[in-house]
């Protein structure tokens, strides 16, 4: 049930470069810093929790721990869709938070981006999406929005 994406691709890691896991939400690609990722799962049975914000799908059993799961689509202001065969839950472990799962449409690959390949985001545009973005990475002609996990996960706790 668990996929070990990390072993599939071997990339040289230099000091100022960071490895990201590229995920797909709708038509866009996002990158999540690999050091925060604990695990990637297919969608298991999710138990709904009443009276929580709609983007929190519920809780799952991960190796005997109860882990809350949020729907990244709803959190990012996108439309909800049905789960497909490629839908995955990425279990994140940030420094100050316990484990949290995020539901994404697809997990694509692991990329290594050096600091030159990452551009800052113009934070003046006050759109919902930009709040969650740390920067934009250029990789093989495509653009990857790099997620700011603390604001993706942290906000909802407040």
């Amino acid at each position: 049930m668990e996929e070990n994406v990390m072993n599939e691709v071997s990339v040289a890691v230099t000091e100022d470069s960071i490895q990201y896991i590229v995920i797909r939400l709708g038509d866009e690609q996002y990158g999540i810093d690999i050091k925060y990722i604990d695990n990637i799962l297919r969608v298991p049975g999710i138990t709904r929790v009443p009276k929580v914000p709609s983007y929190i799908t519920g809780v799952i059993n991960l190796r005997g721990e109860v882990v809350p799961v949020m729907n990244l689509r709803l959190k990012m202001g996108l439309e909800d869709t049905e789960f497909t065969n490629s839908t995955r839950i990425i279990i994140l472990r940030t420094e100050h938070q316990s484990m949290t799962g995020v539901i994404v449409d697809e997990v694509k690959e692991v990329v290594t981006l050096s600091s030159e390949q990452v551009d800052d985001v113009n934070h003046e545009t006050n759109s919902e999406e930009v709040r969650f973005i740390n920067g934009v990475g250029k990789y093989e002609g495509g653009l990857i929005s790099l997620l700011n996990l603390n604001s993706v996960i942290g906000d909802s706790a407040a």
Binding site: V59, V66, A157
Partner: protein
Amino acid sequence: MDVSQYLEIFLDETDENLQNLNTQILTLEQEPENEECIQEIFRAAHTLKGMAGTMGFKRMQNLTHDMENVFSEVRDGTIKVNSDMIDTLFQTLDALETYLKVIRETGDEGTEENQAIMKKLNDILERKGDEAPAGDAGASDKDAGSDASGDAKEDKADASSDGAGWKSIKLDDSQKEVIASAIKEGRKVFGLTIFIQNTCVLKAARAFMAFKCIEDAGGEVAVSSPSSQDIEDEKFDFEFSLIVVGDAELDDLKKDILDISEIEKVEGGPVPLDFVDQKEEASEAEAEEAAAASQEKTQIQPAPETKPQGAAPAGKGAQAPAKQGDGKKPAKSVVNHTVRVDIEKLDVLMNLVSELIIAKNSLVSASNVDGEQNSAVNEQVEYLESVTTSLHESVMKVRMVPIESVVTRFPRMVRDLSKKLGKPMELYMTGEETELDRTVVDEIGDPLMHLLRNSADHGIESAEVRKERGKPETGSIFLDAYQDGNNVVIEVRDDGNGIDVEAVKNKAIERGVVTPEQASLLSEKEAISLLFEPGFSTAKVVSDVSGRGVGLDVVKSKIEALSGEVEVKSRYGEGSTWIIRLPLTLAIIQALMVIVGEEKYAISLGSIVTIEDVQDSDIKLVQNKEVINLRGTVIPILRLRDILETPTPPKEGKNMVVIIVKKGDLQAGLVVDELIGQQEIVIKSLGKLTNKAKMISGATILGDGEVALILDTNALF
């Protein structure tokens, strides 16, 4: 010298000693002539000084030394106890606690000398000339004192008459072999008996240093009696014997060991080769002695002349009952054999037990799935079930500690409050031995302190008012703890002013918590519950004792965080009672599993009163709320399906399953779709993301790996 490994023990024991002193001095304040109490104080102070000295905390030692001097004079009856002195003593204890705190944080005692307090203590000593000469009580005290020292001397004499204790060491075969071969090889083999001063507190530390000394000198301890483990655990009197093999010179070694402080004396001599063989005879002789009746003792007595090695066991055998006679032994046997365990290790153990129970639950559901019942499997599963339940109970018991550890500081606190507020009051406590989970005990201290301060500050009236009301001038505060089923109840009660409901309402209106119209509709109970609203304080003047308006809501949220509840009962003019109810265990509970829609929920059995089958027609409407009349009681009905916003449509049917739950005196009926049954569940936190769901207190993992939510019925009504 390295004493750091004893730091933890030092901190813990000093803490205990200080607590003990606090309690005893409080008693002394009440009964200045209580000799037993004075003795106990003296003993604790002495121990404190000894330990601080051993650990090298000079400033702490100096302060305790001065305190001990005062107690010593009190004991001898040359100083009378007075309230000034008690105040100074309490200040001393506070200063010592500060040292302890600094040591705990930094490993060092800091630089505070506490000159002022030491001067006060010395002043007390100097003033003793002015005091009336000691009366009869004092004289008898003195007698008791000299008696005690006489005992000590006798004890020492006993010890020395014991002679070279190493000769009586019992050897097993392998040890004999080692010694015999060492002697044959021409290595130096000698026996040592080391006597430690009987005032020594950290005996194990001294013994450790002696061992170290021997090793440094190139010696090797071949045999020790008692075993080195027992020595480490301080399971020995004030002497221990060793057989050392090695290159060290006996005299040098003896000198080195004597240099260690608190070592009384060292005896030793070379071990002859025949020692090993003689031992067998000696133990035979002992066996004979044991078998023979006591009148034969006289016959054994002359034996030393012919069989010198046999003398020691014989002598010892005769001595043991004598020692028991002097009353020292029984005191020691009172000490339980305990092991200090890191709380984290217990948490790990608890988690493993939780995992085991989840695994057991999976096994139970797996063995039921097949349809075909296998009786052998069922039997084993049932056996496993009873074992895991006992295991859980045992681990819970290990984690239980008496609430004593938090409440012992309260009498002192109330005394200080009484002085500060200028209102005479007394604290009476019962049920300090009531046990709770360690994590709960650690957390319960602050809320209790808040409630006691609240009672002292707002509850108890001034002496004049009390007189007018016909109450005794001294106010009483009670703290009672007791177990009630699966809960522990702690009550804080006072015979003071009680809660002025009108004042509470006015304040609430003033603070904008309620409108005047709402206030007029509030029942007394509802009005009192306003006290727990954040930012509410009825004290007209904010004192530094309470009344910052943070007290009661903090108390409430803290207790609720521990899955407990607080309740107030009050009668204006007569006093109030705060009742805290806490679950015995936090991690694993018995729960009723229910189905709402297609989802499974767990409800703690502790809050369930009964389960009722209710017809649709039994439901009545009162003020637009659904209620049922259950055996004469009107109980509001809550449809869980609506509260939980269950997505699936309701089932058709005239009958409903209603679970009657209680919260304090209140009851409510929860409508569920189906009952599954009772199950032991492990509570898991829902994590930060979902803690907004107040009515869900946690989650649990069912046998099939599914997550079920635990309903907090207290949050529902």
